[in-house]
Subunit: 138 residues, 2 copies
């Protein structure tokens, strides 16, 4: 049996976050000691590792909830799980695309100004003030 701190160390999930996951229904309520402290078993540890890994991959709490539900029904089709993963992937790709466009624009803006001048002539400020100076859409 692990205390919440022990679980935290093993999974690298902070203690208040573990309690938060419990409140959100991602973790089921663990046993308690006589003194009301949480004690987790191996299943709890595994479950939390799953959550941590999915969060690291950017899955939302909601998506993780659905995945956990599926885990609980091994006989059910895994189409939903596949869909969640694919949707997460397209999310990530959309974000990358957008960030690339921003990167280009920021490079252009930053290059125009070395920080040596005064704010009146600053290219950074001018670029932000006037969208027409931009080369790309964003």
């Amino acid at each position: 049996m692990y205390s919440i701190g022990e679980l935290s160390k093993r999974t690298k999930v902070k203690v208040p976050t573990i309690r938060y996951y419990e409140e959100m229904g991602l973790l089921s309520e663990p046993e308690r000691t006589e003194g009301n402290q949480r004690r987790y078993d191996a299943a709890g540890l595994e479950r939390l590792s799953f959550i941590k890994h999915a969060r690291d991959l950017g899955f939302s709490i909601e998506a993780i909830s659905k995945l956990i539900e599926l885990q609980g029904h091994p006989d059910r089709s895994c189409q939903a799980a596949s869909e969640i993963a694919v949707s997460q992937l397209s999310d990530v790709r959309a974000k990358i695309k957008r960030l690339r466009a921003l990167e280009k624009e920021l490079v252009r803006i930053s290059k125009g100004c070395d920080g040596a001048g005064v704010s009146q002539d600053c290219y950074v400020l001018a670029s932000l003030a006037d969208h027409k100076l931009c080369r790309h859409e964003h």
Copy 2:
């Protein structure tokens, strides 16, 4: 003079968001009609366009505050503005890097499962449960 709705249309910033920016100190308090409604002038419009553009580029409210402060002092060195832009750029690059790693991992996970099987054998779920199945760090 523009009403808040007029300003919203021209800048594509939603009305409640404009009020929010005012509350946050990004926009100075505009004149009011006798009936207490906001009326903006050209300077207000320009300022809001600046904010909108910077937000679209991912600058935080805090960063924008600093940039606006600089705009107000045309004689001051623009080093701070340059630093903010550069830091924003490295932020964006870090995010891209991380997202690329996630993309790779998600592609791998998704490929392993076509959604046809049952959840018990689902590669998506197995991958999430066991970090050791991952090829990359994240």
